[in-house]
Protein backbone atom coordinates (compact mmCIF):
# COMPACT_ATOMS: atom_id res chain seq x y z
CA UNK A 1 0.00 0.00 0.00
CA UNK A 2 1.25 3.47 -0.87
CA UNK A 3 2.31 5.40 2.22
CA UNK A 4 0.69 8.73 2.78
CA UNK A 5 -0.06 11.27 5.43
CA UNK A 6 -3.69 11.96 6.23
CA UNK A 7 -4.93 15.29 7.56
CA UNK A 8 -8.55 14.24 7.60
CA UNK A 9 -8.85 14.44 11.37
CA UNK A 10 -7.76 18.08 11.33
CA UNK A 11 -10.20 19.10 8.59
CA UNK A 12 -13.01 17.05 10.13
CA UNK A 13 -12.54 18.76 13.47
CA UNK A 14 -12.46 22.15 11.74
CA UNK A 15 -15.96 21.33 10.46
CA UNK A 16 -16.92 20.22 13.96
CA UNK A 17 -17.95 16.78 12.78
CA UNK A 18 -17.66 13.42 14.45
CA UNK A 19 -16.31 10.36 12.65
CA UNK A 20 -19.81 8.91 12.76
CA UNK A 21 -21.33 11.95 11.04
CA UNK A 22 -18.67 12.02 8.34
CA UNK A 23 -19.00 8.27 7.78
CA UNK A 24 -22.75 8.59 7.37
CA UNK A 25 -22.41 11.44 4.88
CA UNK A 26 -19.95 9.61 2.65
CA UNK A 27 -21.67 6.22 3.06
CA UNK A 28 -18.92 4.26 4.76
CA UNK A 29 -18.42 2.75 8.21
CA UNK A 30 -16.93 4.70 11.09
CA UNK A 31 -14.11 2.15 11.20
CA UNK A 32 -13.20 3.10 7.64
CA UNK A 33 -12.93 6.77 8.65
CA UNK A 34 -10.80 5.72 11.64
CA UNK A 35 -8.42 3.82 9.38
CA UNK A 36 -8.33 6.68 6.91
CA UNK A 37 -7.34 9.10 9.65
CA UNK A 38 -4.58 6.75 10.73
CA UNK A 39 -3.48 6.46 7.06
CA UNK A 40 -4.05 2.70 7.27
CA UNK A 41 -6.47 2.61 4.37
CA UNK A 42 -5.96 3.92 0.86
CA UNK A 43 -9.35 5.30 -0.27
CA UNK A 44 -10.83 5.17 -3.75
CA UNK A 45 -10.83 8.36 -5.78
CA UNK A 46 -14.61 8.62 -5.35
CA UNK A 47 -14.39 8.39 -1.55
CA UNK A 48 -11.53 10.90 -1.47
CA UNK A 49 -13.56 13.35 -3.58
CA UNK A 50 -16.68 12.85 -1.44
CA UNK A 51 -14.67 13.51 1.71
CA UNK A 52 -12.95 16.57 0.28
CA UNK A 53 -16.34 18.03 -0.70
CA UNK A 54 -17.80 17.43 2.73
CA UNK A 55 -14.87 18.77 4.76
CA UNK A 56 -14.48 21.53 2.18
CA UNK A 57 -10.77 21.07 1.57
CA UNK A 58 -8.75 20.03 -1.50
CA UNK A 59 -7.86 16.33 -1.79
CA UNK A 60 -4.14 17.06 -1.99
CA UNK A 61 -4.33 18.86 1.37
CA UNK A 62 -6.16 15.99 3.05
CA UNK A 63 -4.14 13.11 1.62
CA UNK A 64 -0.48 13.92 1.26
CA UNK A 65 1.48 11.41 -0.80
CA UNK A 66 5.28 11.64 -0.97
Amino acid sequence: MAEFECKLKYYRQLKDMTQEQLAEKVGVRRETIMRLEKAQYNPSLKLAIDISRIVDAPIEDIFIFD
Binding site: Q19, G27, V28, R29, E31, T32, M34, Q40, P43
Partner: protein, 143 residues
Protein backbone atom coordinates in the same frame (compact mmCIF):
# COMPACT_ATOMS: atom_id res chain seq x y z
CA UNK B 1 -25.04 3.96 -10.59
CA UNK B 2 -23.37 0.60 -10.03
CA UNK B 3 -24.55 -1.87 -7.38
CA UNK B 4 -21.45 -1.19 -5.29
CA UNK B 5 -22.44 2.45 -4.88
CA UNK B 6 -25.72 1.50 -3.22
CA UNK B 7 -25.57 1.40 0.53
CA UNK B 8 -26.27 -2.18 1.52
CA UNK B 9 -25.71 -4.22 4.63
CA UNK B 10 -24.67 -7.83 5.08
CA UNK B 11 -27.33 -10.39 5.89
CA UNK B 12 -28.41 -10.81 9.48
CA UNK B 13 -27.05 -14.18 10.55
CA UNK B 14 -26.78 -15.55 14.05
CA UNK B 15 -23.20 -16.75 14.74
CA UNK B 16 -24.76 -19.89 16.22
CA UNK B 17 -25.46 -20.99 12.64
CA UNK B 18 -21.78 -21.90 12.69
CA UNK B 19 -22.85 -24.99 14.58
CA UNK B 20 -24.24 -26.28 11.28
CA UNK B 21 -20.62 -27.17 10.60
CA UNK B 22 -21.20 -30.13 12.91
CA UNK B 23 -23.03 -31.75 9.97
CA UNK B 24 -19.57 -32.23 8.51
CA UNK B 25 -19.12 -35.14 10.91
CA UNK B 26 -21.82 -36.94 8.89
CA UNK B 27 -19.06 -37.47 6.36
CA UNK B 28 -17.60 -40.15 8.62
CA UNK B 29 -20.79 -42.09 7.91
CA UNK B 30 -19.29 -42.77 4.50
CA UNK B 31 -16.78 -45.23 5.93
CA UNK B 32 -19.67 -47.23 7.37
CA UNK B 33 -21.94 -47.04 4.30
CA UNK B 34 -19.05 -47.99 2.01
CA UNK B 35 -18.29 -51.01 4.16
CA UNK B 36 -21.90 -52.17 4.44
CA UNK B 37 -23.48 -51.24 1.10
CA UNK B 38 -20.73 -49.75 -1.04
CA UNK B 39 -22.26 -46.24 -0.96
CA UNK B 40 -19.73 -43.44 -1.13
CA UNK B 41 -21.92 -40.33 -1.42
CA UNK B 42 -22.01 -39.64 2.38
CA UNK B 43 -18.35 -38.60 2.10
CA UNK B 44 -19.67 -35.44 0.43
CA UNK B 45 -21.03 -34.39 3.84
CA UNK B 46 -17.45 -33.47 4.79
CA UNK B 47 -18.09 -30.32 2.77
CA UNK B 48 -20.54 -29.23 5.49
CA UNK B 49 -17.55 -28.48 7.73
CA UNK B 50 -17.46 -25.25 5.75
CA UNK B 51 -20.60 -24.13 7.57
CA UNK B 52 -18.39 -23.33 10.56
CA UNK B 53 -17.72 -20.21 8.51
CA UNK B 54 -21.23 -18.99 9.38
CA UNK B 55 -19.80 -18.17 12.82
CA UNK B 56 -17.67 -15.44 11.25
CA UNK B 57 -20.43 -14.49 8.80
CA UNK B 58 -22.63 -14.03 11.87
CA UNK B 59 -20.04 -11.81 13.50
CA UNK B 60 -20.05 -9.66 10.36
CA UNK B 61 -23.84 -9.67 10.10
CA UNK B 62 -25.67 -6.40 9.44
CA UNK B 63 -22.41 -4.65 8.57
CA UNK B 64 -22.48 -1.72 6.18
CA UNK B 65 -20.88 -2.90 2.95
CA UNK B 66 -18.65 0.02 2.05
CA UNK B 67 -15.73 0.06 -0.35
CA UNK B 68 -13.31 -1.27 2.31
CA UNK B 69 -15.66 -4.21 2.90
CA UNK B 70 -15.75 -5.06 -0.83
CA UNK B 71 -11.99 -4.76 -1.02
CA UNK B 72 -11.51 -7.09 1.95
CA UNK B 73 -14.12 -9.49 0.57
CA UNK B 74 -12.33 -9.71 -2.76
CA UNK B 75 -8.98 -10.23 -0.99
CA UNK B 76 -10.42 -12.94 1.27
CA UNK B 77 -12.16 -14.79 -1.56
CA UNK B 78 -9.06 -14.65 -3.73
CA UNK B 79 -6.95 -16.24 -1.00
CA UNK B 80 -9.62 -18.83 -0.09
CA UNK B 81 -10.09 -19.82 -3.75
CA UNK B 82 -6.35 -20.12 -4.16
CA UNK B 83 -6.13 -22.49 -1.18
CA UNK B 84 -9.10 -24.52 -2.50
CA UNK B 85 -7.61 -24.74 -5.97
CA UNK B 86 -4.19 -25.82 -4.67
CA UNK B 87 -5.79 -28.43 -2.40
CA UNK B 88 -7.89 -29.88 -5.26
CA UNK B 89 -4.88 -29.88 -7.55
CA UNK B 90 -2.76 -31.70 -4.95
CA UNK B 91 -5.61 -34.15 -4.32
CA UNK B 92 -5.80 -34.93 -8.04
CA UNK B 93 -2.05 -35.30 -8.23
CA UNK B 94 -1.80 -37.61 -5.23
CA UNK B 95 -4.83 -39.77 -6.03
CA UNK B 96 -4.26 -39.84 -9.79
CA UNK B 97 -0.55 -40.49 -9.69
CA UNK B 98 -0.06 -42.67 -6.68
CA UNK B 99 -3.25 -44.09 -5.13
CA UNK B 100 -4.85 -45.03 -8.45
CA UNK B 101 -1.93 -47.38 -9.15
CA UNK B 102 -2.88 -49.50 -6.15
CA UNK B 103 -6.66 -49.33 -5.93
CA UNK B 104 -8.84 -47.18 -8.15
CA UNK B 105 -11.82 -47.36 -5.79
CA UNK B 106 -9.84 -46.11 -2.79
CA UNK B 107 -8.35 -43.41 -4.99
CA UNK B 108 -11.85 -42.23 -5.90
CA UNK B 109 -12.93 -42.20 -2.24
CA UNK B 110 -9.79 -40.28 -1.23
CA UNK B 111 -10.46 -37.79 -4.02
CA UNK B 112 -14.07 -37.37 -2.95
CA UNK B 113 -13.03 -36.73 0.66
CA UNK B 114 -10.25 -34.32 -0.28
CA UNK B 115 -12.40 -32.33 -2.71
CA UNK B 116 -15.23 -32.10 -0.13
CA UNK B 117 -12.75 -30.90 2.49
CA UNK B 118 -11.27 -28.43 0.01
CA UNK B 119 -14.73 -26.92 -0.59
CA UNK B 120 -15.32 -26.77 3.16
CA UNK B 121 -11.99 -25.07 3.73
CA UNK B 122 -12.62 -22.64 0.89
CA UNK B 123 -15.98 -21.54 2.26
CA UNK B 124 -14.69 -21.32 5.82
CA UNK B 125 -11.56 -19.41 4.85
CA UNK B 126 -13.46 -16.83 2.80
CA UNK B 127 -15.60 -15.97 5.83
CA UNK B 128 -12.77 -16.16 8.33
CA UNK B 129 -10.36 -14.08 6.26
CA UNK B 130 -13.02 -11.44 5.60
CA UNK B 131 -13.53 -11.11 9.35
CA UNK B 132 -9.79 -11.10 9.96
CA UNK B 133 -9.00 -8.43 7.36
CA UNK B 134 -11.89 -6.31 8.55
CA UNK B 135 -10.72 -6.38 12.16
CA UNK B 136 -6.98 -6.38 11.47
CA UNK B 137 -5.09 -4.01 13.80
CA UNK B 138 -8.48 -2.58 14.73
CA UNK B 139 -7.38 -1.92 18.33
CA UNK B 140 -4.67 0.43 17.08
CA UNK B 141 -7.31 2.46 15.26
CA UNK B 142 -9.63 3.06 18.20
CA UNK B 143 -9.86 6.67 19.24
Amino acid sequence: MSDKNKITRTKKINPLFGLLGMFGFLGFMGFWTYKTSGLVFPFIFFAFFGFFGFYYAGKMSDTLMDERFYENQAKAEKKANKITFIMIWLALLITGNYLAQFNIEYAFIALLILVSLAFALGFFMSQYLLYKYDHESFDDCEE
